[in-house]
Subunit: 376 residues, 2 copies
């Protein structure tokens, strides 16, 4: 029995104003090609299929084309659950007709105790739900955290479950200790959203979506597939791909398989002039680039100049202003300096030029006056 686990496709996603639809179509082509080789018994998509609850027609057509290839052409059953980015109703549209071809779309809580059984394995689905949706579903007053909400759902499943069978869970949530990326939208604002891994003890294997790093969590039986692509510059050099889960008798072997995207995200650091003169080290000029450059304060529209040379530039940080990497590290050193030097250094960092003698004198005069004032 071979299961393919993927999640967080985020079809229709924009990155810094740039549509990633072409990149998504490209990587899904790679995925389909891989599936022709893999010939799995089922593909699991663990939520965040779309990036928004109101996907564009291009995004829905890309999903349709992809599941058409996987399901109708390659004849592979699919289990699709919804994540916090998906609109339940739109993702669920046509589910009863899809199911006739073994495309199981699960967006509602009431299906949680009806597993999909394929080749003796029970696949339980827990589509993303807010804490208040779970509270409402169970008519339970005291559900306040994702931990409580998940525990209620899992206990509900456990009661109905055949504990002698092999049971797997498909969900969309944060497990405690999971590595975060910037492209994951918080499930709830102001609430601890993570769930203790002990909650999943009744399952032989847990396939999750939400965290975008494929090695978000170190566990024998709980795993994230990671997202389809790098969706933020915090994910630079993270591998992206899918998980192959092989079940033989009682053993489960879970392997991450990387896929090669059309473009990766790349952070390029250095001097502005070097970048403009193409003397800066770049892995691939076609990548989506985030430049972090120094000595560019005198340039009027540095982004425009960069884009003329590197059309896929998506972000630019002026490193003269990068307090985290320069000022903060130097904070202790700063505390040792006198006021004149601090002001001079600040001026130099911001403008890339030194204070003139006239300016220095003026500052000294002002500082002296202030000190005198302070002594009165």
């Amino acid at each position: 029995m071979k299961i393919i686990h993927t999640a967080d496709w985020h079809l229709g996603r924009m990155l810094n104003g740039k549509s990633l639809l072409k990149d998504q179509a490209y990587i899904l082509e790679q995925f389909i090609t891989a599936m022709k080789e893999e010939q799995p018994d089922v593909i699991v998509i663990a939520g965040d299929v779309y990036d928004t609850s109101y996907p564009s027609k291009d995004a829905i057509q890309l999903l349709e084309r992809t599941i058409d290839e996987l399901n109708l052409s390659l004849n592979i059953p699919l289990i699709i659950t919804s994540g916090n980015h998906d609109g339940k109703e739109r993702l669920n549209y046509g589910a009863r007709w899809f199911e006739k071809s073994n495309v199981y779309i699960r967006t509602q809580l009431d299906c949680m105790i009806s597993p999909i059984t394929i080749d003796h394995i029970n696949f339980y689905t827990l589509p993303f739900a807010t804490v208040s949706e779970v509270q409402h579903f169970f008519q339970h007053d005291t559900v306040e955290t994702h931990q409580q909400a998940t525990d209620l759902c899992l206990a509900h499943m456990s009661k109905e479950m055949d504990h002698n069978a092999m049971n797997m869970l498909i969900g969309h949530m944060t497990v405690q200790g999971g590595k975060r990326s910037e492209s994951e939208r918080p499930l709830t604002i102001g609430t601890v959203e993570s769930v203790d891994r002990a909650s999943f003890k009744d399952f032989n294997h847990v396939m999750l979506g939400h965290l975008h790093h494929p090695f978000s969590i170190d566990s024998d039986y709980i795993s994230y597939s990671g997202s389809l692509l790098q969706y933020s510059f915090s994910e630079v050099s993270q591998p992206k791909g899918y998980r192959r889960v092989i079940v033989e008798n009682d053993s489960i072997k879970n392997t991450f398989i990387p896929l090669k995207p059309l473009r990766e995200l790349e952070v390029v650091e250095g001097d502005y002039e070097d970048a403009i003169q193409e003397k800066i080290s770049i892995k691939n000029k076609e990548n989506y680039l985030h430049f972090k450059l120094k000595n560019m304060s005198h340039v009027t529209d540095p982004m425009m100049h960069l884009k003329q040379i590197y059309p896929n530039t998506l972000a630019l940080t002026n490193m003269s202003f990068d307090f985290e990497n320069t000022y903060l590290e130097q904070r202790e050193a700063i505390e040792q300096l006198d006021d004149n030097t601090i002001i001079n250094n600040f001026y130099e960092d911001i403008t890339s030029t030194e204070l003139t003698m006239t300016q220095r004198n003026k500052i000294t005069t002002i500082l002296n006056k202030l000190t005198e004032g302070g002594n009165n």
Copy 2:
């Protein structure tokens, strides 16, 4: 063989800012109940299923629920084509899975020569297409009118057609001489959009959408089903329902069957005070009302006052301003009157009071001056 012909559901339609979704859900319940009785061999929905290309989740859920009942519960095949209001891609979503349960969704021109054959009848579909889409499809330079575009499509079908079989056409267009309603959006701005009925000579029966009146056209073999509901006050007292088409040997019998809506549209004419004092004749206070009232110019917010008594009031016309019904008819009479009288009548119509003697004298003075000026 029994065919049910319906069209122009316009799910998600608003009328004067009021969502008609509840009314649509209600009438579709009536339709489903009727279909349980009718037990047709196929239901044809000839375009404008949705009111917009980007339907709300409530609208898509209503469509899904309806075709679920008709197709999955009652096991009736459906043929659905797109109209000028539908978004082809969204309406077409999942079509290949739907088709496995005999729901045939046709939104693309390339399916025009692939009829759906049910019980020896070939159903040809011509989804709505703009003139330029047809031009592009045939790579033909000189398509400029709906007549030419339709003729090209029909000739293309005719070439492939088995002329000895019974062939029916499902389309979404205006046939010459068809009665128009205000709720139909023009197919193209500035182009004659109607198609000569002689164009359809190769078909035994033509089932159309677009015109909202079920008796839009007087023809033996071309018919409109009309819209699901009255969608503009120009459709007041138009019956709404579906068409039952019975085929026996070579004979085709086509009957309009009305359905009873939750509310009809009603125009109420009279005096404002009578309306407010509920002394005005209204068929059903629960109907969606368009008041056309006189003597209300002194009231600050007449709509608000009317809605307090008739909550389903959707429109209000001040009949003192209704030029079409008062002024224009009286134009000839006006030409016989002198200037003073015309001005006095105008003032009276607008303000519901007469000019004072001071005002009359002032006007006479001005008119005299103007006449003198003209003589110089």
